[in-house]
Amino acid sequence: MPVGTLIAIFDTTYETLRAEDFFREAGVVFRPVLKPRKIGSACRMALQFGEEALPSAKAAVAQGKLALNAFYRKEGEQWQKLD
C-alpha cells in the first residue's frame, strides 16, 4: 500500500473519482483517503501519493481539466498547501 506525503483534494466526490481515473492513466500510484481534518472541516475525499509522482499528478490534473482544490504536503504534523 503506497504511503505518500502528498495529497490532492478535489472539489467534489465526482471530481475525485474522475481524478482517480486520470491518475491511474498517468501511472500515479495513489491511495484514496479521507481529507485530513487539519486542512478544513468540510468532508471530502483526497488522493494520497508520493513525492516522486507530483509531476505526473499535475499533468493528470491538466489533462483531465480536473477541478483541483489544492495539493498539500505533510511537513511534521502540518499540511502545507503547494503553490
Binding site: D11, T12, T13, Y14, E15, L17, R18, P32, V33, L34, G40, S41, A42, C43, R44, M45, A67
Partner: protein, 384 residues
C-alpha cells in the same frame, strides 16, 4: 377463447417488463456486495458505491451524448426530474411555450400558482415551419420551449432535430420530457440543442422503478428543489454550487442506479435501433390486424418517422375500461386504459373524456403474444 396461462404484458409504456436479467443481478450485487452509501464515507465499500454511481453517470451521459457527466443527475423518476427542472429553472413572470401532447407531469407543475409562470400552448404537427410558429407566440419574457418528445397515448414522436434547431434560432432553452422517448427514439443532447432532458429509468431504458434522470447542457443553471446533505461542503449552510452535488441532496438509490446502469448497458448491447425496430414490428403487426376489425378506432401517426412503438385504440360502443377488464380477466392480457395521465393528449386526438386502450410492447414481446392480443380484441369486438 381459452385463458392464456402466461400473462401477455403490453403495458411497457407504464413500465417495461420483464427486465433484462442483468438488471436484477446488478441490483442484487449492489445490495449484497456493496451496500454502503455513496459519497458518505471513505472506506472501501463506500468508495465502491461511489464508483458505481460515477460509472453510471458517465454511461448515461454517453447514451444521450450529454456534454458533461457531472450534469447527469439521478432522480426517482421523470416526474421528479420535470419538477426539478421547471421549479429550478423558471422565476415568477417568465413565459414558456409548451408543445406536444403533454403529460400531467409538465402541466401540473406549470400551473402551480406559486411558480407564477405564463404558459402558451403551441399545437404543431410537423406541418408548418416551426420557427415562424414560435415567433408567433414568443414574447420578451419567453425563456423556454417544453416539448413532450413522444406521446404516451398515441405514440406521436416530435422531431427533436427540427425542434432543437428552431429553439436555438429563437434563443429558447429546449426542455424535453423524454419519459417515453428515452429508449424509443434516438436522443442526442448536443446535436439536438437540448438544454434540459428529463427521463425515467424504468420504461424504455429497462431499469427498475424508482429511477430517473435529469441531464443539463452546458450553461444551464437550476436552483435546487430539494436541499440537504450531499456528502460535500458539509461546513456550508447553502447547497454546493457544483454539479452533481447541487441537485443531489440526500442518499442516492444505489440498487436502483445499479439496475438502471445495467438496463442502459443491455440496451446498448442490443443496439437502440435494433430494439426499436423489433418493438415497431410488433406494433405494426397489431396495428395492421386491428385496422381490419370493424368498429375499431386507431390512434397512431400516419407518418412512420413521427411515431414510437405504441398506439391507442377504442372499440365503438364499448367502454375502454370494459375492454381492459375483458382483456385482463378473459385473456390474461395487460393493457392500460383510460386517460393515461395525459388528458390534453386525448383532447388533441379526440378521445377525451372516454380515453383509449393502449398497446405498448416491449423488447421481449413475441409475435405469438401479439397474435394472442389480436385474437382477444377480435373476440371482444364481436368478430369471432
Amino acid at each position: 377463447m381459452t385463458m392464456n396461462t402466461k400473462p401477455v404484458y403490453l403495458d411497457n409504456a407504464a413500465t417495461s417488463w420483464p427486465k433484462p436479467e442483468h438488471v436484477a443481478r446488478a441490483m442484487q450485487t449492489a445490495m449484497a456486495d456493496i451496500g454502503a452509501n455513496p459519497g458518505r464515507g471513505g472506506y472501501a465499500q463506500a468508495r465502491a458505491a461511489g464508483r458505481l454511481i460515477h460509472d453510471t453517470r458517465i454511461l448515461a451521459a454517453r447514451f444521450f451524448n450529454a456534454p458533461d457527466p457531472a450534469r447527469v443527475i439521478f432522480t426517482p423518476c421523470a416526474t421528479y426530474s420535470l419538477n426539478m427542472a421547471l421549479q429550478g429553472f423558471f422565476k415568477k413572470g417568465d413565459h414558456v411555450i409548451v408543445m406536444g401532447r403533454q403529460h400531467n407531469a409538465v402541466i401540473r407543475p406549470l400551473h402551480d400558482r406559486r411558480l407564477g409562470v405564463k404558459v402558451s400552448r403551441l399545437v404543431w404537427n410537423d406541418t408548418a415551419p416551426l420557427v415562424k410558429e414560435l415567433a408567433r407566440v414568443q414574447t420578451k419574457k419567453t425563456r423556454a420551449l417544453i416539448v413532450n418528445h413522444a406521446s404516451n397515448v398515441d405514440g406521436f414522436l416530435y422531431p427533436l432535430d427540427t425542434i432543437g434547431r428552431a429553439a436555438k434560432k429563437r434563443g429558447l432553452t429546449l426542455i424535453v420530457d423524454a419519459a417515453q422517448g428515452a429508449g424509443n427514439a434516438a436522443i442526442d443532447m448536443r446535436r439536438q440543442n437540448i438544454g434540459i432532458l428529463c427521463a425515467t429509468g424504468h420504461k424504455g431504458l429497462l431499469g427498475p422503478a424508482g429511477t430517473g434522470l435529469l441531464l443539463l447542457n452546458a450553461g444551464i443553471e437550476l436552483m435546487p428543489l430539494i436541499k440537504g446533505g450531499t456528502g460535500s461542503y458539509s461546513d456550508k449552510e447553502a447547497m454546493p454550487a457544483v454539479y452533481p452535488d447541487r441537485l443531489e441532496a440526500g442518499s442516492l438509490n444505489l440498487p436502483g442506479i445499479a439496475g438502471l446502469g445495467a438496463g442502459i448497458r443491455e440496451l446498448m448491447k442490443l443496439g437502440l435501433e435494433k430494439s426499436i425496430a423489433k418493438k415497431m414490428r410488433r406494433t405494426e403487426q397489431a396495428h395492421a390486424a386491428l385496422s381490419k376489425i370493424p368498429g375499431i378506432r386507431l390512434y397512431w401517426p400516419a407518418k412512420k418517422e413521427l411515431r414510437i412503438p405504441l398506439f391507442s385504440f377504442s372499440i365503438d360502443g364499448i367502454d375502454p375500461a370494459e375492454v381492459g377488464d375483458m382483456l385482463d380477466h378473459r385473456h390474461n392480457v395487460a393493457c392500460r386504459v383510460g386517460l393515461h395521465c395525459a388528458p390534453d393528449a386525448h383532447r388533441e386526438i379526440g378521445s377525451f373524456p372516454e380515453g383509449t386502450i393502449r398497446f405498448a410492447p416491449g423488447i421481449y414481446t413475441t409475435a405469438a403474444e401479439v397474435e394472442h392480443f389480436i385474437h382477444a380484441v377480435r373476440e371482444i369486438a364481436g368478430c369471432l
